[in-house]
């Protein structure tokens, strides 16, 4: 049995806004009966261009119904510009979270909203952009890319939970992995701000003090920072480390790993012997 939050149960058992809005300004249908999930979303704007009414019809499991109902509540009173900022994570959060295998239900809601807004603006969206990767569920490379980016996904299993891609015959699993690798390679680069050398040295000292020395001292060992040249961190072994046969392993396998994780992934630890 799925572990649903009380909010999911509430929105499933007593869903708000079931049905279709008369003379809607925005309309969208996403999913299909073959996939096991489908959602028809309609909304109407008032004279101030705010969403006054939103309704849904869902074919799908309890969390799909709850996600759609939650979405119709969330968009009420918003302008389309405000509404289009709603992400699938927002829908899941509104419901107090969804089981990870059910995240695709929130994605379905977000896709419907995006499509309904495009309809309102008169943007043609009939043609699915991108190339179909998952034949079983008709998921394109664009959709997979988006899900990976927006939710910071890192495994094929997560992609399946969010988009269903790969959940059928499994033939596309390798291609999904390629997409994950590609997207993650591009988002990786800009994350770490460039540090000045002084900042870098200060940070290394701090991490040495906080994360590394206490562990070494348990075994009677220590290290001293001699210099930092570019990405080379020059360390000298002190205390028991100086005579311990396993200390080389400690420098590379522990000290370097910690520094790379907490300071900069490019650091290389080198030992200096005086």
């Amino acid at each position: 049995m799925w572990e649903y939050t009380d909010k999911v149960r509430e929105y499933f058992l007593e869903p708000r806004n079931v049905g279709e809005v008369d003379n809607p300004d925005g309309v969208a249908e996403v999913g299909s009966i073959a996939c096991g999930d489908a959602l028809r979303l309609t909304f109407k704007l008032d004279e101030n261009k705010r969403i006054s009414e939103a309704k849904f019809k869902t074919f799908g499991c309890a969390s799909a119904i709850a996600s759609a109902s939650a979405l119709t509540e969330m968009v009420k009173g918003l302008t389309v510009e405000e509404a289009e900022k709603i992400t699938n994570q927002d829908i899941a959060a509104y419901l107090g979270g969804l089981p990870k295998e059910k995240m695709h239900c929130s994605v379905l809601g977000q896709q419907a909203l995006e499509k309904a807004i495009a309809y309102y603006r008169g943007v043609p969206t009939e043609v699915k952009e991108g190339e179909i990767i998952c034949e079983c569920f008709g998921v394109t490379d664009r959709e997979i890319e988006q899900a990976v980016r927006k939710n910071n996904l890192s495994s094929v299993e997560e992609v399946t939970n969010y988009t269903k891609a790969g959940g059928g015959c499994g033939n596309c699993l390798d291609r999904i992995q390629e997409i994950i690798d590609r997207v993650r390679a591009e988002v990786r680069e800009p994350v770490r701000p460039k540090m000045t050398n002084i900042q870098k040295i200060r940070m290394i000292e701090e991490i040495l003090d906080r994360e590394i020395r206490p562990a070494l001292k348990n075994d009677g060992g220590d290290v001293e920072l001699i210099d930092v040249i570019g990405n080379r961190v020059l360390l000298a072994k002190r205390g028991y480390c100086a005579v311990c046969p396993a200390s080389q392993q400690t420098l590379k396998g522990f000290v370097e790993v910690k520094l790379r994780e907490l300071v900069s992934p490019d650091l290389v630890v080198e030992e200096v012997t005086e």
Binding site: I33, A34, F59, E101
Partner: protein
């Protein structure tokens, strides 16, 4: 709220008599049945009695009964033994609707170099006997076909299929987990070499199974260890559960007629009334060759998980073949093998009864379910068009 338990193909309640029979062996009678002393020996006598009770239900001889930990272990024992005792043969024949205990094992063996034929079934879930006959080759080590399907209750003609395998010198195993206790089985008068059953499907506890091995059949054990079960399955006996299973088998024989009369009538009533009251619904599977306790009904344009959760509010327990409940994103492999359309497969509900069910319970479902389906259909974007497309249940 009382529980209305209609999910007996998933597991059954341990009956009071079974529990009572087991209790002393958790307590003061804790001896090891293999021991030389009287304290253990008295337990050994009870294990022997249980073996006789199981044998009696199957029409088998007690020495053909091997206690295991579950149905899955028994299935593994059968198929791996055939491959071990016929090392020159690397082909296995199963059906597309087998339980994962057999299907996943065979998928695993295929990776190790075995060739696996998965026989198709028709839209009623019946085995394609022509394809079966063609699949049997000199390289075939074993045929493993389920006696009755867990999702639909449809029964395969395993006795006939076993004869066909025998004529060609091929071992035949049947996963009879769902059949034992519900229909008469007489191993003395059929050609089946190996059979698997599971205690918790017939009111014994979970964690006990049986592997039936016909006398004189080549065998290689799966669990290797001590000399228990005449060196055919190592490991200290699960004494309380073995004794419980013996009792459960004795009771199953006694209740066999009730299962096939009263329980069948309750199942039929449930099925007729639901089909009658709910448009666009249909039964999945052959209604003639079917277990007396099972019905699998599809409600078009709604999704099974929602139905189950709404039934749950009334304490009604059932299960579904929908994708959302399977955890695999695809609806049940059994319904897909039968070619059940997607509009129907996602909204399938299985009710499986037992002798413990009452007419009042069935009436509660008949009263409750039509409204639930109606509510969910009103939420479904497919319902309006569907209603026009087809107004009569097929």
């Amino acid at each position: 709220m009382t529980t209305v338990y209609l999910d007996n193909n998933a597991t059954t309640q341990v009956s009071a008599e079974v529990l009572a029979a087991m209790m002393p062996y958790f307590g003061r009678l804790y001896g090891n049945p293999s021991s030389m002393h009287t304290f253990g020996g008295q337990v050994g006598i009870k294990v022997r009695e249980a073996r006789e009770q199981v044998a009696a239900l199957l029409g088998a001889s007690p020495d053909e009964i091997i206690f295991t930990s579950c149905g899955t272990e028994s299935d593994n024992t059968a198929i791996r033994s055939a491959l071990a005792t016929y090392p020159e043969r690397r082909h296995i024949v199963i059906s597309r609707v087998e339980h994962p205990a057999v299907r996943s094992l065979c998928a695993h063996l295929a990776k190790e170099g075995c060739r696996v034929t998965e026989l198709p079934v028709d839209s009623e879930g019946r085995l394609n006997m022509e394809a079966y006959e063609k699949s049997l080759t000199p390289d075939t080590a074993i045929v493993s076909l389920m006696w009755a399907n867990n999702e639909t209750g449809v029964m395969f003609p395993v006795e006939k299929a076993a004869l066909m395998a025998h004529d060609r010198g091929i071992l035949f195993h049947t996963d009879a987990v769902q059949a034992v206790g519900k229909i008469p089985i007489d191993m003395e008068n059929n050609a089946i070499d190996m059979l698997s059953l599971s205690g918790h499907k017939l009111h014994a506890p979970k964690g006990i199974g049986v592997f039936y091995l016909r006398r004189g059949t080549r065998f290689s054990p799966f669990m290797i260890g001590g000399h228990q079960e005449r060196e055919r399955r190592g490991g200290t006996e699960n004494v309380p559960s073995i004794i419980g299973l013996g009792k459960a088998c004795e009771l199953a024989a006694a209740y066999m007629e009730e299962e096939n009369t009263r329980v069948r009538q309750l199942r039929d009533k449930l099925e007729h009334e639901l089909l009658d009251r709910i448009p666009n619904s249909r039964v999945n599977g052959d209604r003639v060759n079917r277990l007396p306790n099972t019905t699998n009904i599809s409600f078009e344009f709604v999704e099974g998980e929602g139905i189950l959760l709404m039934l749950d509010r009334y304490g009604i327990c059932a299960s579904s073949g929908s994708a959302c409940t399977s955890g695999s994103l695809q609806p049940s492999h059994v319904l897909r093998a039968m070619g059940v359309p997607f509009t129907m497969a996602h909204g399938s509900i299985r009710f499986s009864l037992s002798i413990m069910n009452t007419e009042e319970e069935i009436d509660l479902v008949i009263e409750t379910l039509p409204e639930i389906i109606q509510r969910l259909r009103e939420m479904s974007p497919y319902w309006d068009s569907g209603r026009q497309a087809c107004a009569t249940p097929s």
